[in-house]
């Protein structure tokens, strides 16, 4: 057990050090949602009539966005480790594939949560009405959401053979997850086919839960959304462990 925990700590240690040093990744992941918030939010906000201020309405969506982008790419980044042979160094250690997977998930989740925390801090200054309880619920939701997404990224990364596949991940996974989540618009009046897709998208439940936590408005209860995201996590962790076991170099 001690060996496993040390192994997980080792992988986390590496992710954390790299995170600290890749400043450009942090900067872009914090500024991208801010651009959306200020430019897109203000622009669209001027023509919409939502119950709450539109910019406030989409703020929880941007927390989810930060988690989606950074978790998925962080996971898929393992394909880069394959390319530079760092993965060999990890796979040749006595650690089991399940331990390696867990360490990677925790490392990626830490990065994603730190980035989202920076955004929450900025949210304070933007006048988003955070309370202690809403903060705890928000961080909890971001935490469980990140676990599933890092796992998804790792699964995709374990199948990719070269970093060139990153573009595909972005087009076919990251953007659909984000755009269908209701981060940018309410889901009440969209057409039926799209509603189906939004129901399949796990991000929908995370965004809804975040909106409940921060703005006290949502279509499902926080508990229900939490249960869905936990289910999503369990499924992806299981698939991810299997994907890691069969991963070849």
């Amino acid at each position: 057990m001690k060996k496993i925990l040390k192994g997980i700590y080792a992988l986390w240690y590496r992710e954390f050090k790299v995170f600290q040093r890749e400043k450009s990744r942090i900067i872009s992941s914090v500024f991208l949602p801010l651009f959306w918030y200020f430019i897109f939010g203000r622009g669209v906000g001027s023509i919409t009539n939502t119950k709450v201020n539109y910019q406030h309405f989409i703020f929880p969506g941007f927390l989810a966005m930060t988690i989606i982008f950074s978790s998925l790419f962080n996971g898929a980044y393992i394909v880069w480790d394959k390319k530079v042979d760092f993965l060999k160094e990890v796979l040749i250690t006595p650690l089991s594939r399940a331990t390696i997977f867990t360490g990677k998930v925790i490392g990626g989740m830490t990065d994603a949560l730190l980035q989202a925390s920076i955004l929450i801090l900025i949210g304070f200054f933007l006048g988003i009405p955070f309370s202690l309880i809403s903060l705890v619920l928000t961080l909890f939701m971001l935490f469980i959401f990140a676990i599933g997404l890092v796992s998804l990224g790792l699964i995709i990364g374990s199948f990719l053979e070269s970093p060139e596949g990153f573009g595909l991940v972005s087009s076919f996974v990251v953007y659909p997850l984000f755009l269908l989540s209701g981060a940018l618009y309410p889901l009440d009046e969209i057409p039926g086919w799209m509603k189906v897709l939004t129901h399949i998208d796990p991000a929908t439940y995370a965004v809804d839960a975040l909106r409940r936590a921060i703005l006290h408005t949502s279509s499902q209860s926080f508990i229900f959304n939490t249960a869905i995201i936990c289910l999503f996590d369990v499924i992806l962790i299981m698939i991810g462990t299997l994907a890691f076991k069969r991963m070849k170099l």
Binding site: L11, Y13, P94
Partner: protein, 323 residues
């Protein structure tokens, strides 16, 4: 107990036999060299021994553990220095080594001491807090060798340890490997396609070509097995058939650019040899080295064996153009 016992080990990729029924026993404390051209199956063999690849057939026991049945125990008992850099460039040497120590369950209190110890062995303790991306290729290789030693493995695998390094750095690395073997008695298995490297470092050498071990012995015994000095001749109207009749000629190989002849006691017999050879323009005589051994067993020099890949490609593209 032997460090490594390999029985009939085979790896098939699609229709290619990368490793073809290899049998090999490596003793404890030995430096074993796997010598052969690129693509001979050396790296594949190391990958199987380190459990990163599964064999198609056959068995391999490393430090008493079967690579298929007990992969985690095998991995815990070996160290590996890969052919390509496998450290994280954004981390410092210290951080890369710490990461490694944690993954191999080196006791927490001993980690810093061990890191210092192995880094000073390769002369890098001064630079340990610099990021690896600021290192030269040679420094990075030294760092990765130090890393491979950190958890005190019983067997150390070195995949082409000096590939692409300048002569001075290569010499340094050779000295580290020699010292390591002498001081710790660690079993070392290295692959190389450099003759000098195999001759200098290895107690025994297995010559590998097309996935098979074609010769296995000490470098000296392999060279002696050729039965004489190596004479190379080029010129016009060379007479290999006549030369073959001479009693002191052991073997003649016709190369593109001349003849390579194994001759007993060349100092005494050279003149007679040249009289028989034809109109010679150029003659060299040398003691046999592993390249000659390789040539003897495969019918091609190790450098030519590498060239043959290009020849295949050329022949292939020519054939396509003609169609």
């Amino acid at each position: 107990m032997d460090a490594i016992v390999i029985n009939s080990l085979t790896k098939v990729y699609g229709t290619t036999l990368a490793v073809d029924h290899i049998d090999l026993t490596i003793q404890k404390g030995e430096i074993m060299g796997l010598l052969g051209p690129n693509g001979a199956g050396k790296t594949t063999t190391l990958m199987i021994l380190s459990t990163l690849l599964k064999p198609t057939l056959g068995t391999a026991i490393v430090n008493g553990f079967d690579v298929l049945a007990k992969p985690a125990q095998v991995r815990a008992s070996i160290g590996m220095v890969f052919q390509d850099p496998s450290s994280d460039e954004l981390l410092t040497a210290y951080e890369n080594l710490k990461l490694h120590a944690l993954m191999y369950d080196v006791p927490m209190g001993a980690i810093d001491k061990k890191i210092n110890e192995v880094l000073s062995l390769v002369g890098l303790q001064e630079r340990q807090h610099d990021k690896v991306k600021t290192y030269s290729g040679g420094m990075r290789r030294r760092m990765e060798i130090a890393r491979g030693l950190l958890h005190e493995p019983k067997v150390l695998f070195l995949d082409e340890p000096t590939l692409g390094l300048d002569p001075q750095t290569r010499e340094h690395i050779w000295v580290y490997i020699e010292r390591l073997s002498k001081d710790t008695g660690m079993t070392i298995v290295l692959t190389t396609h450099y003759m000098e490297e195999a001759e200098r470092l290895c107690h025994r050498v297995a010559i590998i070509d097309n996935g098979k071990i074609i010769a296995l012995d000490t470098p000296a015994a392999l060279c002696e097995s050729l039965g004489g000095d190596m004479v190379f001749i080029n010129g016009k109207n060379l007479q290999p058939q006549e030369l073959a009749k001479l009693p002191f000629v052991r073997k003649i190989e016709t190369l593109d650019h001349g003849l390579r002849i194994a001759v007993e006691d060349s100092a005494k017999n050279l003149q007679k040899l040249l009289q028989t050879a034809g109109e010679t323009e150029f003659v060299t005589v040398h003691l046999p080295d592993l390249n000659d051994v390789f040539l003897h067993y495969t019918g091609k020099g190790i450098r030519e064996a590498q060239g043959s890949v290009m020849e295949h490609i050329r022949a292939f593209s020519k054939a396509r153009q003609n169609n």
